[in-house]
Symmetry: C2
């Protein structure tokens, strides 16, 4: 029996060059590419002559079912996600829904997640233990987000925030900074990376005290240092602890 295949592909932050060679190979082999409109637009030029299927934000379940149906019909299908499909991407949902598609074999192809891509632009903010927390409360209660922020701060972990703000959550970054500020020094070194690997890419370093007021949106990744994080020649660096003189 011919295997029916669905790749769930992490395309990295956005530019073609930051995709893995394996991800590019899977997209080249695919007949159908499904994904959120914004991500499709990032790759369409590099992979012409494909059937593209997209759905807007908040239609994730429909998008995944559409991709599984296409694979079931016998097409080689890739579902694309920005960054890594396993970090706030579609890997989990596809695997949940695939329970009803036993004939489709799902392969997850990892990619460079925003935490890593933005960190590389800022310096090395995550070079020690860290927590990755999304501020989106669409699928998670605000209480649970608050609890995670608090405990990450109490244990002096660096923190990387995904989805720090959106149109409906303009003040969530300020809210998160107030929670973190209960346990972290207001002078803690922080950074933001915007539009990583896309037009308008930029980074900025500031203190925790200042962070709550900086502009942020769904294309911003935020870094809060631990107590050892320093600014070195314009880079945000969380030392691993190597000694040298």
């Amino acid at each position: 029996m011919c295997e029916k295949k669905l790749y769930v592909v992490g395309i990295g932050p956005g530019d073609y060059e930051q995709m893995t060679i394996k991800a590019a190979g899977a997209l080249n082999r695919s007949q159908v590419i499904a994904g959120y409109t914004v991500y499709i637009d990032l790759i369409r030029e590099s992979f012409p002559d494909k059937e593209y299927l997209s759905t807007p934000m908040t239609k994730e379940t429909e998008r995944c079912r559409m991709a599984l149906e296409k694979a079931k019909e016998g097409h080689i299908v890739s579902m694309v996600c920005s960054g890594d499909p396993g970090i706030y991407g579609m890997a989990g949902l596809v695997l949940e829904l695939a329970e009803n598609y036993p004939e489709v074999s799902v392969e997850i192809i990892p990619g460079v997640t925003a935490a890593c891509a933005g960190a590389a632009l800022l310096g090395a903010p995550l070079s020690h233990d860290f927590a990755v927390i999304s501020l989106s409360d669409r699928l998670t209660s605000k209480n649970l987000i608050e609890k995670r922020l608090e405990h990450a701060a109490i244990s002096d972990m660096a923190v990387c925030l995904y989805n720090p703000a959106s149109r409906h959550r303009g003040d969530y970054l300020l809210w998160a900074c107030e929670i973190l500020g209960r346990y972290k020094d207001p002078q803690t070194v922080c950074g933001v990376a915007r539009c990583i690997g896309r037009t308008g890419q930029s980074v900025e370093i500031m203190t925790l005290e200042q962070l709550g007021k900086v502009p942020a949106d769904m294309f911003t990744t935020v870094y809060i240092g631990n107590s050892q994080t320093r600014e070195i020649r314009g880079n945000m660096v969380t030392p691993r602890g190597y000694r040298y003189e």
Copy 2:
């Protein structure tokens, strides 16, 4: 003035295909490639005709200085790290030491870190908020590691462990499981990924109760689920929370 360049390159888990197109480009452009012996061996075949410089484990400072010196002399140099250079890699240390090499411009090229690569093999264990914690106490006190494990567990984060064991730390994974088990259910779904992207690659899913006794070494990445993590058709999946019927 001609810019003196040092790339700090994440090569991903190990196989050439999981490197980004940008990482491969930087290595191709480089005249000198520096790195830990094990990583050099992973890429030497794909990039012949380069000058290779390597130092054994625990000689990180010497390795970084050697790369900076070579770049200062005018060679194009890449320092390779497995996974992502910013996650327990050399990015931080290079940027710290580069303070004394103002003529060298350092560029960090991100890669697929083990957390993402291993997750893709297991399913989607990190599809919700998570903490990344190294069990190595070479540069971090055991008390601080314990504190971070405790607070990650109290706030029901999934946890990804790097360096779960070594020759000198044979029982650290068991120790970590006992700490996590104070707050997490013994039936919590867990997984390990071994030799990701290399010969001998394998994954295994088990409960937290069982995890402490599985064999682990420096080439093992460990995943502890949150309270919602389930096993679905042999995959470890931490749901993001999408509702569907």
